[in-house]
Symmetry: C2
Subunit: 339 residues, 2 copies
DNA sequence: TTGAAAGCGCTAACAC
DNA sequence: GTGTTAGCGCTTTCAA
């Protein structure tokens, strides 16, 4: 048998359907005894209100979706945590979906989720700008760390201060030849980051080898490490920490000393960055705040922000206004050394 | 203005609402030109079908929820990945919710999500057995690594082979006094794991100090480490790797050598376990398979399993039958040594 | 205080 | 091929 409906509950309690509805949500307007009877019936039946039916009537789903490219990347875990906190404080349900770095999978997910939620948070979308714009016209969304260049698409990004500091740090240490391992070709952040590296190197008169695109995963670090060695660079910056871990793995197994022979700098400062040996020098990104900020913007956009927060406004940052570009900074640990 | 409905699309295309519906979902039964006109209208309007309305009509939502206690714990990331893969192969939408280790938050989430999905996967629930049973009567659910003892609640768990091996390994190394750091008091897995440690120690004639409950987080490892040192044990087993990392941190900062002075064994073999120095000896859990297995059982229970997989049946393990207890095993790395 | 009835957006008979 | 219509489960006027 299918799940019990409000009609079943009403019948069992011997009241009208509307009375049952009120008894469950508006305890005041009903005789206490009736309300109790209804509640008992609902309980015995294991009644769960259908969110679909409720959503159909109201115009809002009371839920938003967060779409991330790879949930197994600790960076996104942190981001999720930030949005979760803010959303929970506003009594908005958050659903998270992992699209495993596949643009097609990302679009499928958008299609599947768009009709169930009031809005979506798209983290590090691998979609191109045009597709992103299109979806933005279909469903309220906030792009996180991906600027489609369309002013109609609300966006919150991170700055490139951190990577500039990284290059400066290396140059200050005497490095004259750096290498940059790119992330996915579909990553907006990677393009931006690479440009920052290129420009900073140019400004500082440091030679730069572009190592080409590598998947943003630990296992892709091996290829990047080999490329670094071939290039003759004395230091490498990777698109993200996962790649940096992989580089460290490979360098170690090839007997290359870090940081003595080659310096390594990652990006994101994810869980584990301080666990490696040597500990990883990396660009710290306020991932949690990024998630919270994006969530706040979305709530503002879909008009859910006014929902009285059930908890104090959360310490997760200002409301839906303010800068939409968060600063990053270099965190120096053990993986860099003078050349 | 609110989002466009099918009626808007039909009006714009100059057709009946049902024609519009068919044109969008059943391309065959409609004149090509009409279908194209409808599709164009939908496109211009940025039409997105309301999942709620569709779900109301059909009896199924085509979605399931996965509830985890802490998404920032790499163990759960792996589990999520496993269920995601299997579910995607069956064209079932998966939504993930993080309840941040709070039982109340967990119940709120259940209540919020139960009406939107066809079933739920409850990973390492912190709810007590009775509450779990109650919810199980309300919505199809599969408990992962939490056995409520209610045969009505489908369950998939992991065995304790790994922790037994861990104790045996330590005993074999000559350790005569071990310590166990428990996880959350509300964790079913912890109770089970602790019992296994107690019994194996008894069997082997090894002394055991119970360090009491500690949150399953890295920062909780400091207290556990201090307790180990006070106990005089030569080796410690922790509830999970996060705690083990924290123990390693603390031991290092107190100048205690691992594994020379104290051996450390974690549990889960999460991301980063091989990154620490020394690399962590830990109990490997097939987290991905656990997620896939649970998802398969849920699909079977809610009758979604028959949905023709859009991808080959996935290499993520057998269908909805088979053992519902997965084996674990010890993975020896550098953090243990003879006493 | 309670009941009857009108939709919310969509799909699926069932007509034409 | 295409239009009409009856609900799906729920909330909410409007009456009683």
């Amino acid at each position: 048998m299918s799940r019990p409906t409000l009609a079943d509950v009403a019948a069992r309690a011997g009241v009208a359907i509307s009375t049952a509805s009120r008894a469950l949500h508006r305890p005041g307007r009903i005789r206490a005894e009736t309300a109790a009877r209804v509640r008992a019936a609902a309980d015995e039946l294991g009644y769960v209100p259908s969110a679909a039916a409720r959503q159909l009537h109201r115009s809002s789903a009371g839920a938003v979706a967060l779409v991330v490219p790879d949930l197994t990347n600790p960076f996104f875990m942190a981001l999720v945590r930030g949005s979760t906190r803010l959303l929970r404080a506003h009594d908005v349900v958050q659903v998270v979906a992992d699209v495993e770095e596949e643009p097609e999978s990302e679009e499928q997910t958008l299609a599947a989720l768009a009709g169930r939620v009031d809005g979506m948070l798209l983290a590090a979308s691998r979609l191109d700008a045009a597709t992103l714009s299109t979806w933005s016209r279909r469903v309220p969304l906030v792009a996180v760390n991906h600027d489609a260049g369309d002013p109609e698409v609300p966006t919150v990004t991170i700055g490139t201060q951190g990577v500039e500091e990284a290059v400066e740090h290396l140059a200050g240490l005497g490095h004259r030849h750096l290498a940059y391992a790119s992330g996915p070709a579909t990553s907006w952040a990677d393009a931006r980051r690479r440009t920052a590296v290129v420009e900073t190197c140019a400004r500082l008169g440091v030679r730069l080898t572009d190592l080409g695109h590598h998947p943003p995963r630990r296992d892709a670090g091996a290829a990047a490490a080999d490329a670094v060695l071939r290039s003759g660079a004395t230091a490498v910056l990777t698109f993200n920490d996962l790649q940096a871990f992989g580089v460290l793995d490979r360098l170690a197994s090839r007997g290359v000393q870090v940081p003595e022979d080659v310096s390594v700098i990652g990006h994101d400062d994810i869980f584990g960055a301080d666990l490696t040996s040597p500990a990883l020098t990396t660009v710290t990104v306020p991932a949690e705040e990024l998630g919270a900020r994006a969530a706040a913007r979305l709530l503002g956009a879909v008009g859910l922000a006014t929902a009285a927060p059930s908890a104090p406004p959360a310490a997760t940052g200002p409301a839906s206004t303010g800068p939409d570009r968060l600063a990053t900074h270099l965190t120096v640990r053990g993986s860099t050394a003078p050349v």
